[in-house]
């Protein structure tokens, strides 16, 4: 349903119909006319061995100011994260990869179940947010996160440090591969975010500063 632009239902709907009428008049189409086929989608997947994907991902991430740790095992991943959060307050999501690595058992880590309010408070005061990542993109060093109950939006956003744990087999070659691999992206979650490096700005004299509103540091643990 279209909603009123002026507060009274009738006027809003009239506005909608009026604007659609203006559009049709401008382009010379009639109501319900079937459109021509859009141009063929341009997506190119890349075949790339895992080692090369890991190497490229690490290079791209480091160039952006992030850090990659390739974990030899679940316990190695746990130790790496433990060192990162030592003496700090950390918030962790309920992603399955975190549970497998027993991240939530670390003494510094606060984990769910959350209500919206407890989550908000925890994230607003935490030093580190630990999340899973649904995919990684090798050529740009990007992480892809689908928001769910277990993987809320705030954990990767509010704390100044973001630690993301990514399964090796979820490391794709490029952005095009993401759209080929997950064509129903928008079905999966109301919020899909592609994170490419730490939050940054160059709004003052085009000088790079990290950590504006989002995390200024990113660590990716490849499991």
């Amino acid at each position: 349903m279209a909603v009123a632009a002026t507060g009274s239902g009738g006027v809003g709907l009239m506005e909608r119909d009026h604007i659609l009428h203006l559009v049709r008049t401008a382009i010379g189409r009639s109501v319900g006319q079937v459109p021509e086929e859009p141009p063929t989608v341009l997506l190119r997947g890349q075949q790339m061995p895992l080692e090369e994907r890991i190497r490229k991902f690490g290079e791209a991430l480091e160039k952006l100011g992030g850090k990659l740790h390739v974990a030899a095992s679940h316990s190695d991943a746990k130790h790496y994260v433990a060192a990162l959060v030592a003496g700090k307050r950390a918030v962790a999501s309920g992603a399955s990869v975190l549970l497998e690595c027993q991240i939530t058992e670390l003494p510094e880590v606060q984990a769910g179940p959350w209500t919206l309010e407890t989550l908000r408070q925890a994230c607003a005061s935490a030093d580190v947010g630990i999340t899973g990542a649904d995919y990684g993109l090798a050529d740009t060093g990007s992480l892809v996160l689908f928001a769910t109950t277990d993987e809320p939006r705030m954990i990767s956003l509010l704390p100044p440090v973001h630690v993301a744990m990514l399964r090796k087999e979820r490391l794709l070659a490029s952005l095009d591969d993401l759209f080929l691999e997950v064509p129903d992206l928008a079905e999966r979650s109301s919020s899909v975010v592609i994170i490419t490096g730490p939050s940054r700005t160059a709004d003052i004299e085009q000088i790079l500063v990290r950590g504006v509103h989002g995390p200024g540091q990113i660590h990716v643990v490849l499991v």
Binding site: A4, A5, I27, L175, T196, A202, I204, V212
Partner: protein
């Protein structure tokens, strides 16, 4: 051209600090773009540009279909679509919504569409607090100015300007370190985010097939604006729609590289409706306002329709020799540079902005860098044609007509031509290194005077072509 515009341009040209700020920032942006499109990517990049151009063309040619599909999909996801004719209707809707939910504080992330309709001012006048959260926009809002660049709103400010501004408006010690300034903004704005009732954003792309909006940013303020407040309102021009999710890939790869030289910006958020049942956070309500505000008028012209392909990367500004001298504030509307010179006259009429298409050297750089291949130089010429035609219609070209008549009269009469050129040769140019800076009093009027105010005319040669011709050695007999 308005005198106020000339005064503003003069002010920019005479301010060396401002000249330096604009010139060096745009130079850095050009350099970053160049580095992001290395030679080995060039061919692929050109393919993306062509594809993006074709997608935009197709979408606008079938826009009513895609708008209806979009509306259907957003609604299926539990969101609401509002069509608004102008800024007044957008503000009315938001104020009504705010009242209904007892909202006081609005956080805004950077959006040119909301700048276009002065949304912040409208909300503030109605008694709401509306805070810009993009660092550059925040600086510009504190200074009570308007953005001077599509991508870098505070491009005209130096870090020393900002130190002084923060000192005065936020009561902090003056600190010219961008790192510290950013932290001050982060702390101040984080409080606002946590208390905000409504988050307002723009949208870089709107996807018809899925009902998603896509926001591209580097700082995280758009993510905060769409995560913390319980209500999210996105405002997009009707031209922002693209057909399919998969089309997004091409646009993302073009936008980041063209705007800031990044293969991908830090955050690309693909948002589809409000928070779902299996999600913990995110807004409970989602409204998408689709704005006309003159776009359907531009749409009607087959050639100029391509002005609506623009994805607001700012590359044409950075590469424009005119923008780089006069800066964004010299342009009459929020859209500056070549794209501003092309869309402002179409949105606001030639009376207001007819001079803009002439503020170009037609060097063609804007057309070469445009990621969606808008033929900006051709559109500038097209609009010039219109502006001149309007002048002729309104009989406002008297000076021009008179001077061309005079010119024709002289050119048609060899004796008169010789007399005039001899007279011009007599003008004393000795004190000015031979260049003509002034003309004798009686000729110093109208366009000639204005022209000479900023330019010198090259000196006449000691002997005219006709004199040389007469002095040439007698022609040899034809070779036979």
């Amino acid at each position: 051209m308005e005198t106020s515009v000339l005064v503003q341009i003069q002010r920019v040209l005479e301010n060396p600090k401002l000249q330096d700020a604009i010139y060096s920032s745009t130079a850095r942006l050009m350099e970053k773009r160049r580095a992001a499109i290395p030679p080995e990517l060039e061919q692929e990049f050109q393919r993306w540009r062509e594809q993006a151009h074709q997608i935009k063309k197709h979408t606008l040619e079938n826009l009513d279909h895609y708008l209806e599909l979009l509306e259907k999909r957003v609604t299926e996801r539990g969101g609401h679509v509002i069509f608004a004719r102008d800024g007044g209707q957008v503000a009315d809707f938001i104020l009504e919504l705010a009242k209904r939910h007892g909202a006081h504080l609005v956080v805004k992330s950077k959006s040119m569409t909301t700048e276009e309709i002065h949304l912040t001012k409208r909300l503030e006048q109605a008694g709401f607090e509306s805070v810009e959260t993009d660092l550059g926009e925040y600086i510009v809002q504190l200074a009570n100015e308007r953005p001077s660049h599509i991508v870098a709103p505070a491009l005209h400010k130096t870090r020393y300007d900002i130190a002084e501004l923060f000192h005065q408006r936020l009561g902090v010690e003056p600190d010219p370190e961008p790192e510290h300034q950013t932290q001050i903004a982060r702390r101040t704005l984080r409080e606002k985010f946590l208390q905000a009732d409504i988050g307002i954003t723009g949208a870089n792309f709107v996807i018809a097939e899925t009902g998603s909006i896509v926001i591209v940013e580097n700082e995280g303020n758009a993510r905060l604006s769409t995560t913390l407040p319980p209500i999210h309102v996105a405002i997009a021009g009707i031209e922002k729609v693209i057909p399919r999710l998969a089309d997004l890939a091409v646009f993302l790869k073009l936008l980041g590289r063209s705007a800031t030289g990044q293969p991908l910006t830090v955050y690309t958020s693909i948002l589809t409706g409000p928070r779902r049942n299996n999600e913990l956070d995110g807004p409970r309500q989602f409204y998408l306002i689709l704005l006309d505000n003159g776009r359907t008028r531009v749409l009607a012209d087959r050639t100029r329709r391509q002005s609506l392909y623009c994805i607001r990367c700012g590359a044409c500004l950075n590469h424009c020799p005119v923008y780089r001298k006069i800066g964004g504030h010299s342009y009459p509307w929020v859209y500056s540079g070549p794209i501003g010179a092309v869309i402002t006259p179409q949105f606001q009429g030639l009376d207001e902005a007819g001079w803009l298409p002439f503020a170009s050297s037609l060097c063609g750089a804007c057309g070469e860098v445009c990621p969606v291949k808008i033929d900006l130089p051709q559109l500038l010429l097209d609009l010039r044609y219109d502006a001149v035609k309007a002048k002729i219609r309104e009989n406002k070209n008297r000076w021009e007509r008179l001077s061309f008549r005079l010119w024709a009269a002289v050119m048609k009469r060899p004796k008169l031509y010789e007399l005039v050129s001899t007279a011009l040769g007599l003008i004393d140019t000795e004190e000015t290194n031979g260049w003509l800076r002034r003309v004798p009093g009686i000729f110093a009027l109208g366009p000639l005077k204005a022209w000479l105010q900023y330019r010198d005319f090259p000196p006449p040669p000691p002997q005219s072509f006709r004199q040389l011709w007469r002095l040439r050695p007698p022609a040899r007999e034809a070779l036979d």
